[in-house]
């Protein structure tokens, strides 16, 4: 994603929890402004965005790309009986995948409004928003992201701020491989007419395209290779 934005001569800042990842990014792309921030924590977001705005002013694009992929069925039947979905995991996924979008967007848009900056908010959703068995928290979070996209597009459109979402299907990422078993991935790939997972650079290309199209607003751009659900 960063590479695609830099190729378009964007000035990029990355907010991430992972200090090691940020360090590696800073070495690979010295021009990128790296900010360690837990975007699932409201206070952290307020502080980090305040400091960012003091140094750089209002952003004109926000891409809400942070999130964790998590699978757990609502109910598991084991030898010891019935086990319920861990509520802590539920809270953690909602915080990372949905609340983070709310926190970051409210802080960034507040600055955009006070400076009358026009721009785009791009939320990374997922086809899971329509409901993947075994992904209560993840699907609920992404469905929430879709709803926020629609709500904010209506609220902010008149002020010159578009709000869009890109919903990838199954994509070749480390988090996908960690969250889904090989068997599930194999079966899933069969449901994609193109018979493969998406590539991260294809998703990044999709994000850039919705950023560039000034009439795309309030809608979800599904990038899933034609996945048959």
């Amino acid at each position: 994603m960063v590479d695609s934005l830099i190729a378009k001569e964007a000035v990029v800042a990355v907010f991430d929890l992972n200090a090691d990842g940020l360090g590696e990014l800073a070495r690979e792309q010295p021009g990128v402004h790296c900010v360690q921030c837990d975007v699932s924590n409201h206070a952290d977001v307020v502080m980090a965005t305040t400091l960012y705005h003091e140094e750089f002013g209002a952003a004109d694009v926000l891409i809400n790309n942070a999130g964790i992929l998590y699978s757990e069925p609502l109910i598991r039947i084991s030898g010891s009986g019935v086990e319920r979905h861990d509520p802590e995991s539920w809270n953690k996924v909602l915080a990372a995948d949905l609340s983070s979008v709310f926190y970051m967007t409210s802080c960034v848009v507040a600055k955009m409004i006070t400076t009358r900056t026009r721009g785009v908010i791009a939320n990374i959703s997922s086809v899971a928003a329509s409901g993947n068995a075994g992904q209560s928290a993840y699907s609920a979070a992404k469905a929430g992201v879709n709803a926020l996209t629609a709500v904010w597009a209506k609220e902010l459109g008149p002020m010159g701020i578009r709000v869009v979402a890109v919903a990838p299907g199954f994509t070749e990422t480390d988090s996908t491989k960690e969250a889904l078993s090989e068997g599930v991935l194999r079966e899933t790939t069969k449901r994609v007419p193109l018979r493969r997972l998406g590539k991260p650079q294809e998703i990044a290309q999709g994000v850039v395209s919705v950023l560039e199209n000034d009439f795309f607003n309030g809608k979800i751009f599904e990038l899933d290779g034609g996945l048959i659900v």
Binding site: I113, T114, T115, R116, E155, P158, M159
Partner: protein
């Protein structure tokens, strides 16, 4: 100028033009909430061909203050 502003306010807020006067303020009109206020601001900007600053937007909380800001900006006489 007054009639232009008042008719625009009436149109955006969907209230009778006869109820519009300089003292009419946001807190007096149920439908004149934050979202409606932004719609009103954008409509004023489009009608008078200007971009209002955030500071100006914040002060435009009544019909009278709207007229004052537009007059100060030279958008109206």
């Amino acid at each position: 100028m007054d009639q232009n502003v008042e008719s625009l306010v009436a149109e955006v807020l969907q209230i009778p033009a006869g109820t519009i006067n300089d003292d009419l303020a946001m807190q007096d009109v149920d439908v004149w909430d934050s979202l409606k206020h932004m719609e009103l601001i954008v409509s004023l900007e489009e009608k008078f061909g200007l971009q209002l600053s955030f500071e100006e937007i914040v002060t435009m909380q009544s019909v009278g203050s709207i007229k004052r800001v537009l007059k100060d900006r030279g958008a109206v006489n």
